[in-house]
Amino acid sequence: MERHFERDLEELKQRLLWMGSLAERAVHQAIHAVLDAEEHLAETVLIEEDAINEIQIEIDDRVLRLLALQQPMAADLRFLLAVSRINGDLERIGDQAVNIAQSATRIMRHPQVKPYVDLPRMSELAEGMVRDSLNALVRGDIELAHSVLQRDDQVDRLRDQLFRELLTYMMENSAVVFSAFELVLVAKNIERIGDHATNIAEDVIYFVAGRDVRHPALDRR
């Protein structure tokens, strides 16, 4: 006989994945608003942000209710703790998408600084990390979660490369400072999205294996 608690956990997971898909879509649209200079995409991101915020509150309520009423243990407890943390990370990813969309609307008012080469690579990487961290949650796949952690360094390297490149453009031509500075912000936001995906992957590993892999340099007793 299936317990209603398990049904509640499954429903919670589905709601979290729905939130994840909204956050993923927001990131994708925001980045394409920059890359393709599509203003309507940026507007869509701003409009849809509320949906992510609402679901964040709903998920928090569900987690709190299950903790209080079911007093879960072991894997169930780790799952609820992971969901609660992932909920926060997804909401922040939604916020980063909004920041990128706002930058996009400002960038559009100026000529393009340079052809976009590293930015699409960086955003594909970060979007892939978000997608795979959520897939790892669905499948309980620790290897996939670890692969997300490993990709974070690549995103950081691309950000540094972009920063250097944009700085050179700004030094050479002060007319591009405004647009270049906005692109710096976009790169920074994409890099933060990668960090949130990393957090999600760490939470998946904690939920599945009971291992806390955050801050590996710390001596855990």
């Binding site: 608690f5 072991a74 780790r78 007793r221």
Partner: protein
């Protein structure tokens, strides 16, 4: 900017020192805790039926060890082997070694063993006597020559019952509520100053407020006593114990620090039991 309500601040302030106190200690330190009971290769039989199989377990001194597992898994039987209470059941047999502070309990005088290893049962079982006499009884039969009044009072204090009964010491113990009767039984067990207290589902017949009192009592008794508690209540095991042992079909499946067992159990059978997926 939204401000945190005063209530939340007060709660945070109340919780903060406790959080610091509850910081996890090193695993090594826990493992180094002196051992009160050392149980090796323990088998127990009711006639031809074996109830405990090859059990090995150390019960650390001045800690609470919880025994959990489904009904009939042998946890109460195991608990009763620790002060040889099973010997009052006919046709039972025990094999293996149980050392109390390094001394084999089966070669000890059973009365002195039970004075050192007290027991509290599921249902409160006060004697049909006054509150005072219930606590004094063990002292009298052990030939205690000191001032009974003082020891009765200190035992009732240790069992967190004194304030509720100090004006009614000569009333019948049966006039007390269930929770008070259970604490009276604990006071009675404590009066002879046992080194170990065995508790067999001591809260199963009690309401949550009384249960909280007993759990608080266990926490404070750790200074002077080693405790082993059988419970069906997972939350109670999690709240009240330092170590937890999970038994299934007469075998010890897993034994570890309570904080570890209830968050990241090592054995899938423990996981299934504590998450309510079997048993």
């Amino acid at each position: 900017m939204p401000s945190i309500s005063q209530g939340s601040n007060a709660t945070a302030a109340r919780l903060a020192p406790q959080m610091r106190m509850n910081e996890p200690r090193s695993m090594a330190a826990e493992k180094e805790a002196p051992v009160r009971f050392q149980i090796s290769d323990l088998n127990f039989f009711y006639g031809p039926k074996q109830a405990v199989f090859g059990l090995n377990l150390n019960i650390p001194k001045n800690k609470v060890t919880a025994l959990i597992g489904p009904s009939g898994c042998g946890k109460s039987t195991f608990l009763r082997t620790l002060n040889r209470m099973n010997e009052i059941i006919r046709n039972t047999r025990v094999e293996g070694e149980i050392l109390l502070d390094g001394q084999e309990i089966h070669s000890m005088d059973v009365v002195s063993l039970r004075r050192r290893v007290g027991m509290v049962f599921q249902r409160p079982n006060p004697f049909p006597k006054s509150i005072f006499e219930n606590v004094a009884y063990g002292l009298r039969i052990n030939g205690y020559k000191g001032r009974l009044d003082d020891l009765v009072e200190s035992s009732l204090h240790r069992a967190a019952l004194w304030d509720e009964v100090k004006d009614y010491l000569h009333k019948s113990a049966f006039a007390l509520s269930g929770g008070q009767q259970q604490r009276l039984c604990i006071a009675r067990a404590l009066a002879v100053n046992p080194e170990v207290l065995l508790l067999d589902e001591p809260c199963s017949a009690l309401d949550p407020v009384t249960t909280a009192k007993i759990e608080e009592l266990l926490f404070h008794l750790k200074d002077s006593c080693t405790m082993a508690i059988v419970t069906h209540n997972m939350q109670q095991a999690a709240r009240a114990s330092d170590f937890t042992a999970f038994m299934l079909d007469g075998k010890l499946i897993e034994h570890s620090e309570t904080s570890k067992l209830f968050t990241t159990p090592a054995d899938p059978r423990t996981e299934a039991y504590i998450t309510g997926r079997f048993g």
